[in-house]
Symmetry: C2
Subunit: 315 residues, 2 copies
């Protein structure tokens, strides 16, 4: 055992068992470390494992005097106060590509379900509507995938996998990203230009203060009546109140959302809509991507405790 | 107006309006023609438009003495008594590729929803389960798409489009078809060999007496515990009672079904299951594929009434 590791966010037993076989763990089970443990117990913690979206600020870092590494489970690290970590010489790692296929797969699942109105269709059978020959307005023939313009916002590991999948459905794919990438899809010079062009907006941008609420009421009007927005990134990218209004008054046609401004999402106006498909932040939640993300955590911690640079540092 | 056309199956108003602009129609609205119309009214009917899966036998043909063409809406023509038609020199047409993209898209929608347990996930949010932090066994991390072996049964227009879509999800694709095709996927010499190899079976075979119940209890055991079966072809290809048992006792993991032995499907044992995703035979049901199928009907009828061979004859 090389040194003590604090489990900051709640994680599955399967993961903790696997990590505990290699490192000494103490598990705060989602509670603030100072509530869960004494200063003494926290005194020799050298690394943290956290879900990257969960707020982890200066106060937590200060409660762990020997903290040298923050290892995020998954791609995101938007919850970490990077300036505070840099000041204390704390390195930050993540699992950059481990869950990208699973997340891209889920974004296509949400898109196809929204386009083909899968939830309505399934419920129509289970409720007996089909057997009774009941008319269903929501099952009038929708516009399908063929020829749709798919705008991918963000062209990192996940965005490029979304683009590859979407292109296989006889669509046109375009993208906007801070910089142009070597990919076979047209680049749009701004998010506005991309949204003006596309009728499906796939959000795959890294979340941060610069992307907060960039998808607002004006952007949704730009997406337009046939438009569908899919978000597997972070809830903060979308102004959720504006999205709710746009869905209610049919400014856009539909949405597929894996992430929300406040998680877990409570039932309410959003979940009352039939033109949305909702999943509880499970983009990276497949057996194989959990294993791959755990591999990244283990490689990051092993490197750190051996005094080497992290294997997957935050760029 | 070139001649009278009988509408045999129920079709949408939008379609009938479009066809009626070019041809003289009488609409049986799904009733047997002899019930709906007098012998006199049927006497000068020269063509029929029908949904290809709907039984259309010798008796109907005999009630239409001038019938020369049966035009199927969609790809399938398994409901037509082809021998009877041939004896009376009635030609048969269909819309071979018009809806294949839409059908392939739906098969991927069903597969992704089954793999990622979309219905359970959405219901978990809407019911308040996520907000309450309720555990959900059905939401334990599933095996995702990456590396899955996708077996495509049938390599026609639809099968090849399914294969192209599935391959974009970082899977392995293989197929079985009566004959080998010039496609970049390994060919398996028999359906048994394909099912033994794959863990997802995508049924895209043309239905007929030779394919009735080929997916039976033994074949489902061969597919195995992690297996998922998707059917967008015809309900007759699967022994539905055997499938129900295999889903209930977890001989296979799940299914996505757009077609059933008896349609419409009434709520019952199948729709009580959480490991199936069900849609009411809407594979080809998108705005653009309806237009394309109508185009095929119009081209077939125009050719027929001009005394030329059908534009899209049944092969």
């Amino acid at each position: 055992m090389d040194g003590k590791v604090l489990i900051y966010s709640p994680f599955s037993k399967a993961m903790l068992t696997r990590i505990a076989a290699r490192f000494e763990l103490i598990d705060a089970q989602g509670k603030p470390p100072r509530e869960a443990f004494s200063a003494d117990e926290l005194g020799d913690v050298r690394a943290i494992i956290t879900a990257g979206g969960e707020p982890l600020g200066r106060a937590v870092m200060e409660s762990l005097p020997k903290l040298g590494a923050i290892v995020c489970y998954g791609t995101g690290y938007d919850g970490i106060d990077r300036a505070a970590a840099a000041q204390r010489n704390i390195v930050i790692g993540h699992s950059p590509a481990a869950n990208s296929a699973a997340v891209a797969d889920l974004s296509m699942t949400l898109l196809l379900a929204a386009v083909r109105r899968l939830l309505t269709a399934d419920a129509y059978i289970r409720s007996g509507g089909w057997a009774a020959g009941q008319p269903s307005l929501r099952l009038a023939p929708p516009r399908g995938m063929t020829g749709r313009r798919i705008g991918v916002y963000g062209m990192g590991e996940i965005g490029s996998k979304i683009a590859a999948r979407a292109a296989a459905f006889e669509t046109e794919v375009g993208y906007y990203s801070r910089s142009q990438h070597d990919v076979p899809y047209p680049y749009h010079a701004s998010l506005e230009a991309l949204v003006e062009w596309c009728d499906v907006l796939m959000i795959a941008v890294r979340a941060g203060s610069d992307t907060r609420h960039v998808i607002d009421a004006a952007m949704l009007r730009r997406l337009g009546q046939g438009g569908i927005v899919i978000n597997i990134s972070r809830g903060s990218v979308i102004d959720q109140a504006a999205l709710l209004t746009a869905l209610q008054d049919h400014t856009i046609a539909g949405a597929g959302l894996d992430v929300f401004e406040v998680e877990p999402l409570a039932p309410g106006a959003l979940s009352a809509l039939s033109n949305v498909v909702l999943t509880p932040h499970l983009g990276g939640h497949t057996a194989e991507s959990h294993i791959a993300m755990q591999d990244c955590v283990i490689e990051n911690l092993s490197a750190f405790f051996a005094g080497r640079p992290l294997r997957y540092p935050v760029g």
